[in-house]
């Protein structure tokens, strides 16, 4: 038993739309960084050294 041709075509079309949807939040995030000038990946963990110890 096979999937009918119309369903197959809809699946292919919707998979292509899905690729855009998957990428959308990542693209919007990068766009927001570009607009605001934020560079959160450059933040490194800072260690405070207590010199009095």
């Amino acid at each position: 038993m096979k999937t009918d041709k119309v369903t197959q075509q809809k699946i292919i079309r919707d998979v292509l739309i899905s690729l855009v949807l998957y990428a959308l939040p990542v693209i919007l995030m990068l766009l927001s960084f570009k607009i605001t000038g934020q560079r959160p990946w450059k933040k490194t963990a800072t260690t405070t050294v207590n010199k009095n110890a």
Partner: protein
């Protein structure tokens, strides 16, 4: 306050959700919402499907993931931990739920996959009893578990905690036989909220339609309404219908009350019920078999009835 919310979601993802499901299940049972359809075979199947994934499958996947990720992606641990919370939340909500939409949709639209998902649809009732009901293969390959586990390893564990918690509440509510969405269709000032809600997330009305035993009465739509947390995917892809009504019957028309072990473990164990989709020589999709042929196969009638 944030710590308090964090605690709620931490517990929700461990013992909280099973407890909520048990409490709602007890309420459903007390209100007689299963209408004596919860036979011994259905009871065993529902309980096994509720317990085994939580006790065996998920711990196993988490264990294997913890073993494999450091081997195959040794430098990738927490590589995306810098992603701000709300962006992480959006990335995971879309990534997780869209993947599940596809996993679910393909099990309905590709005939060779249907029998792995059939167990979830064979229940002739809605409610907490059947919400976890799945074939073991469907559960093991539940694709978004792997995606989510990967994202946790990559450093998005904190937003995952909240997405999975909210998603569990929405999908549990959509399966419940308590129709919590009804006030949004009947009370005037709530109707605009209802309009947005039913297009955005799964509700009892839209998800019950997906579990209907009929697709041609204008209410039931088991050939669509595939969304789990978000109904939005069905709106975008045109696979959904919204009627604000609830189906008159649930399950599958050609259900033969197959043995619980066959429903849970097919194709490892098969059904002895003649003509069943789960029998050794059964059809791949039962409702694709013309009624005439099916009845003749059962030896009940030898003349055409269609």
């Amino acid at each position: 306050m944030i710590q308090y919310i964090e605690q709620i979601f931490t517990h929700l993802n461990t013992w909280g959700l099973p407890v909520i499901m048990l409490l709602i299940g007890i309420a459903e049972f007390a209100f007689g919402l299963y209408e004596n359809q919860w036979t011994k075979n259905e009871r065993i199947l529902d309980i096994v499907c509720f317990v085994v994934p939580k006790v065996v499958v998920r711990p196993f996947i988490a264990y294997v993931g913890l073993l494999l990720f450091p081997v195959f992606l040794p430098n990738a641990k927490n590589i995306f931990a810098w992603v701000p919370f709300w962006w992480g939340f959006a990335i995971i909500a879309v990534g997780d739920d869209l993947t599940q939409y596809w996993y679910h949709r393909l099990h309905h639209q590709l005939p060779w996959l249907w029998r792995f998902h059939r167990t979830h649809h064979s229940a002739p009732y809605m409610g907490m009893a059947m919400a976890s009901r799945q074939n073991i293969i469907y559960t093991i390959f539940f694709s978004q578990i792997y995606l989510t586990t990967t994202l946790v390893y990559l450093g998005l564990g904190y937003p995952v905690l909240f997405v999975t918690g909210i998603k569990a509440l929405i999908t549990t509510g959509a399966h419940s036989s308590i129709k919590w969405d009804k006030p949004f269709y009947t009370i005037k000032w709530l109707k605009p909220i209802g309009w947005v809600l039913e297009r955005f997330i799964s509700t009892p009305a839209t998800h019950h339609a997906h579990h209907a035993d009929s697709d041609d009465d204008g209410v039931g739509h088991y050939k669509g309404n595939f969304g789990n947390m978000f109904f939005l995917w069905d709106v975008i892809f045109g696979t959904g219908i919204i009627t604000r009504q609830y189906p008159s019957g649930y399950g599958i028309k050609h259900y033969k009350q197959e043995e619980w072990y066959a429903q849970f473990l097919w194709p490892i164990f098969k059904s002895r019920k003649e003509g069943s989709e789960l029998a050794p020589n059964g059809p791949m999709v039962g409702d694709a078999v013309p009624l005439e042929k099916e009845v003749i196969n059962r030896g009940l009638l030898t003349e055409s009835i269609v």
